[in-house]
């Protein structure tokens, strides 16, 4: 998995490339651990072919952290296979998908 982060003031864009599963999710969790000073988090998942529940866990933790801090989190570029998992788990309702 490859993760590219770009910070622009209070906006942090995180581009994820590769599958997000049991093996790779610890890397994503580590990259999203410290969100201090971030008002707007954009997660670009256009390069993610699939995401298992291990990845959902990372997204939920980030979403909770951003809500607690009064910021917002937006997911962009999720392909249909990834959206399907969001829909099944109800994550489509708790995440902001653009």
């Amino acid at each position: 998995m490859e993760i590219v982060k770009q910070k622009d003031g209070g906006k942090l864009t995180v581009q994820v490339k590769g599958r997000v599963d049991t093996l790779t999710s610890p890397q994503l969790a580590a990259e999203l651990q410290d969100l201090s000073g971030v008002e707007s988090l954009v997660l670009d998942l256009s390069g993610v072919p699939y995401m298992s529940s291990a990845g959902l866990r990372c997204l939920l933790m980030s979403q909770k952290a951003m809500m607690k801090a009064g910021g917002d989190m937006v997911i962009v570029g999720a392909i249909p296979a990834v959206r399907e998992v969001f829909d099944i788990t109800g994550f489509s309702d708790i995440l902001t998908l653009a």
Partner: protein
């Protein structure tokens, strides 16, 4: 048909994921993605919780309907994942628990999913049907 036995470690999981990716070459991309997701959930359960000494993954093509069937066998603690209670997917982000979603995803995306305890082993099968465009 593909069949291989792995160690119940993260290295074993990595090897199985790579092998499965290759074994699913005949499956269309969209179906392949959900099979990889479902398999990851079962791999993780076996490696983290089963205390098995080894586990085996089999992959076979099915016909009428066209699809793929995966079988997972481990000699660990008896555990029927299908008995796990489904998470409440209508809760808000604050109320949602972190975890418990894996088996739910398997049950929702694969059909049928079967479990049996056979000769001291957990045997789980899951099938994904698909149509070729």
């Amino acid at each position: 048909m593909f069949e291989k036995t792995y160690r119940p470690t993260m290295d074993g999981l990595a090897e199985a994921a790579a092998d499965l990716d290759g074994a699913l070459a005949f499956v269309p991309d969209s179906a392949k993605a959900v099979v990889m997701v479902a398999a990851d959930e079962i791999f993780a359960n076996i490696v983290r919780h089963s205390r098995a000494s080894a586990w085996t993954l089999s992959v076979e093509e099915t016909h009428d309907p066209e699809g793929v069937r995966l079988t997972f066998e481990d000699d660990g603690l008896a555990f029927d994942p299908l008995l796990a209670r489904d998470p409440d997917t209508s809760l808000s982000a604050e109320e949602r628990a972190v975890g418990g979603l894996g088996i739910f995803i398997v049950k929702k995306t694969m059909s049928p999913v079967t479990y049996e305890r056979r000769n001291g082993k957990n045997v789980l099968t899951m099938t994904k049907s698909f149509e070729r465009k």
